[in-house]
């Protein structure tokens, strides 16, 4: 039977971790899932086909924003009530899925974010990364008036209203913080719950120092501009 929750797993060159992530997911939950293979150039596509994993393959790489939006469009077309982003690299723990879904159902929020900082967790990220997260926390507080302790967390569940919204408009790159500013401006309710995150199960982070700088400048600029106009 079809579930009313869709788990969206964006994957770009995740041959080392995708099978493990999906296997663990299937063992942990009954929710539907879809892997969005974002034009991977490694063996991700073959792994998906070989193991009969539910997936959509984008013919070219659109980036995380384009891949996630594909998932939201799929969720909208198949009339799902909730959609959850789950990273393919194994950082997001599927055991927290139920908590995310029960929280969004019980609170009536439009989005619930799995946070590493909402309460004390075992997460020990690099100082620079934590500083970046705090910067975005302060930025959102300033421009959108919301307190989100983990604004860069991709582990988040959204309801039907937001699925509809994201199907129409979703930032192309580094979407996490920007969409929070947009949703807050439109009056959507955003909540957080504590989750534990794992280290990457494979591959390396795509965010280099230069990209991190671009990330901060880009998100700051567009969040401010779009919160004013």
């Amino acid at each position: 039977m079809k579930s009313n929750v869709l788990i969206i797993i964006p994957a770009y060159n995740e041959e080392q971790s995708i099978l493990q992530t999906v296997t663990l997911l299937k063992q942990t939950t009954q929710y539907d899932y879809i892997v969005i293979n974002d034009g991977s150039t490694d063996t991700t596509y073959s792994i998906l086909q070989e193991h009969n994993i539910e997936s959509i393959t984008l013919p070219i790489n659109l980036g995380i924003g384009g891949a996630m939006q594909t998932g939201y469009k799929y969720a909208k077309r198949h009339n799902y009530d909730f959609a959850i982003q789950l990273d393919a690299d194994g950082q997001h723990n599927p055991k927290d899925l139920q908590l995310l879904v029960s929280t969004i159902q019980s609170t009536g929020a439009d989005m619930v974010i799995g946070s590493r900082f909402f309460e004390k967790t075992n997460y020990r990220g690099a100082v620079t990364r934590r500083a970046g997260i705090f910067y975005f926390y302060a930025l959102l507080k300033l421009i959108a008036g919301i307190s989100i302790t983990d604004p860069t967390s991709g582990y988040r569940v959204v309801n039907k209203r937001v699925i509809e919204q994201f199907s129409k408009d979703y930032p192309v790159d580094y979407p996490e913080v920007e969409v929070l500013a947009k949703l807050a401006k439109k009056g959507y309710q955003i909540q957080e719950v504590k989750v534990e995150m794992n280290n990457r199960q494979g591959g390396t982070s795509s965010i280099t120092n230069v990209k991190a700088f671009y990330y901060m400048v880009k998100v700051t600029f567009f969040s401010i501009i779009r919160s004013i106009f």
């Binding site: 959509i56 393959t57 984008l58 013919p59 659109l62 384009g66 594909t70 469009k73 799929y74």
Partner: protein, 119 residues
């Protein structure tokens, strides 16, 4: 007319011919061809009217006439660049939409093939 005027008229006429040729060969779509034709005709007119531009520049308080031409040209080219960037951004959106649709339809076909195979 001096040498500079002749060179300017020659260069702008050459540009005008190039635009006409590109339009005739369908290398430019009608909308863009029209914009460049306006630019090319404007260029020829400016080249023909160079002597009069000295007076206009003087009336605007610009002592060196070529500065007036550079300023106007710079602003026009800047506007054109912004216009083209808008078009590129629109095309990027369209490409993203099409890529997503192609992928989605690919998934639909796969699902249909699977269900037919099961039967």
């Amino acid at each position: 007319m001096g040498t500079v005027e002749w060179i300017t008229i020659f260069a702008t006429t050459l540009f005008f011919i190039q635009v006409i040729w590109l339009t005739a060969k369908n290398k430019l779509t009608d909308k863009h061809a029209f914009i460049w034709l306006v630019f090319a005709i404007g260029g020829v007119l400016v080249a023909l009217g160079l002597p009069y531009l000295n007076d206009i520049a003087a009336k605007l308080g610009i002592s060196y006439m070529p500065s007036l031409i550079f300023m106007v040209t710079f602003l026009l080219v800047l506007s054109l660049l912004i216009y083209h960037t808008i078009i590129i951004s629109r095309h990027e959106k369209h490409i993203k939409y099409l890529v997503q649709e192609v992928a989605y339809l690919g998934k639909e076909i796969e699902d249909i093939q699977k269900s037919v195979g099961k039967k």
